[in-house]
């Protein structure tokens, strides 16, 4: 820590890197889980579907902070010890997957049944039809909502300050308590969050445009 913001920048950037790391892992795992669980929900697989509904409800209806505490402080009591890093990405993944499951379930449900029927009428098996028709059409429709959730997950990586993971908020907080330059340092951290989220949003819109089907009114 130094005299000016410039001296603190490397530490803050390092914190941002850590935030990005746990977010990237957490978001990836949660999106993959969300697609799989959303598909199972959409298909109405007995028992599994109900189990997923319970999971979604539990993780949507308890605060993320409580989930982090459970992972970090409660799990050791049953012999599972997670590092701050592990806690951070697992928490983001489990919490996020609950929302992504609902997002993808809704996306798959919104695929016109007639197009699914057309694939089945050609003799394509249900699983193949899902992969070739429901999945690509459903995913296109879910990009905006899934992006909003991913941005939320990235922002929420700041919660990991409570387990001592050296992400951006943790680093900023440490610098502030040593230098007392509250406004500058938290201001810089906020700007970093803001710019990253803006970039994620822009990348998502670019992705959407890239996937847009010529001739269609909307991205399908």
């Amino acid at each position: 820590m130094g005299e000016t913001l410039l001296d603190d920048l490397p530490a803050l950037l390092n914190g941002l890197g850590n935030s990005l790391l746990v977010s990237a892992i957490g978001i990836t795992v949660s999106v993959v889980l969300g697609i799989a669980l959303g598909a199972a929900r959409n298909a109405g697989v007995p028992v599994l579907s109900q189990a997923i509904a319970v999971y979604v409800n539990v993780f949507r209806c308890t605060p993320l902070l409580v989930q982090i505490f459970m992972l970090y402080f409660a799990l050791p009591e049953i012999g599972i010890r997670l590092s701050p890093f592990q806690t951070s990405w697992i928490a983001l993944a489990l919490w996020g997957a609950a929302y992504h499951t609902e997002i993808f379930r809704a996306g798959f449900k919104a695929v016109p049944p007639a197009e699914i029927l057309a694939a089945r009428a050609l003799g394509m098996p249900a699983r193949r039809t899902f992969l070739d028709v429901t999945l690509p059409l459903g995913l296109r429709a879910t990009i905006p909502a899934a992006t909003t959730m991913a941005i939320g997950q990235f922002r929420s990586s700041s919660f990991m300050v409570v387990v001592g993971y050296q992400e951006l908020t943790y680093v900023a907080n440490g610098l502030v308590s040593q230098t007392f330059r509250v406004f500058e340092i938290f201001g810089m951290a906020a700007l970093m969050y803001f710019l990253t989220c803006t970039l994620i949003g822009a990348a998502s819109r670019g992705f959407e445009t890239w996937l847009r089907v010529p001739g269609t009114r909307t991205a399908r």
């Binding site: 016109p112 029927l117 057309a118 089945r120 050609l122 003799g123 070739d132 001739g215």
Partner: protein
């Protein structure tokens, strides 16, 4: 079609006393129907009479409540049949085309044969281009469905079904959603298909098509076959009062 019997007398499709209920609603009430190889059977009748339901039972998209359906002599209405395999042998074209909007015309055609038969992409594409030429859409291979007119989309849908080399093709009011000036191009494709010897079961309101292309016309109403016979008889000199009523109403429309 002058002499339908010369096209071979072997039965492709036999429906025996088909019953179908949607809950309380008894939609098919004992329908029996035979379609022979190379024959074009045209199904006409008032809306709600069960024509679409009947086609869906043949493509095993809709299980029947009673009766038997035989496809090339094999019972397909019993439990335990492989529905996907049967559907590959029964082509179906819908009123609203239902193309895959995210795939090009070419990919719409090659998707199912590649996935189902594991046909190599190159071979499937050669066949697809041949079929596109047949329906007059060679130039549209790289287009997406939403860039095509309704008539073009419907011709793609016909070609897509033909890619599976079906034993029989089912058409469910495939021109009903089209602007009048586009109806002709789709009927033309169907006429060519009939000439090429394809076995077809066609639900339509196009009486001209029924008269010119049909080997047999079947009038269905309230879930039963009211009358069937050659177009020259059923459409011109119907035996049943119900048929006469229906024809009178379609002529006014």
């Amino acid at each position: 079609m002058t002499a339908p019997l010369e096209r071979g007398a072997d039965t492709i499709l036999a429906l025996e006393d088909i019953h179908l209920s949607y809950g309380e609603l008894h939609v098919l009430r004992g329908v029996s129907l035979t379609v022979r190889r190379g024959e074009v059977v045209v199904l006409i009748g008032p809306s709600g009479g069960g024509k679409s339901s009947l086609l869906r039972t043949v493509n095993v998209l809709q299980p029947i409540t009673r009766g038997r359906i035989l496809l090339e002599g094999e019972e397909i209405s019993a439990g335990g049949v492989d529905e996907d395999t049967i559907r590959q042998r029964v082509g179906m074209v819908f009123q609203q085309y239902h193309l895959f909007p995210h795939l090009t015309v070419l990919k719409n055609l090659t998707l199912a044969p590649r996935r189902v038969f594991r046909e190599p992409a190159a071979e499937a594409e050669v066949r697809a281009r041949e079929l596109l030429a047949r329906v007059g859409l060679s130039e549209k291979a790289g287009h997406y469905p939403d860039q095509l007119s309704g008539g073009q989309q419907q011709r793609v849908a016909i070609a897509r079904a033909l890619m599976m080399k079906p034993s029989v093709m089912l058409f469910d009011e495939v021109t009903s959603a089209l602007d009048p000036e586009l109806v002709g191009e789709v009927l033309g494709v169907m006429k060519d298909l009939a000439k090429s010897g394809m076995t077809m079961l066609v639900v339509t309101h196009e009486m001209g098509f029924a008269r010119d292309v049909g080997d047999k016309v079947v009038l269905m109403a309230e879930g039963v076959v009211v009358e069937e016979g050659p177009p020259s008889q059923v459409l011109v000199d119907p035996k049943s009062e119900r048929t006469r009523q229906f024809l009178a109403r379609t002529q006014h429309a």
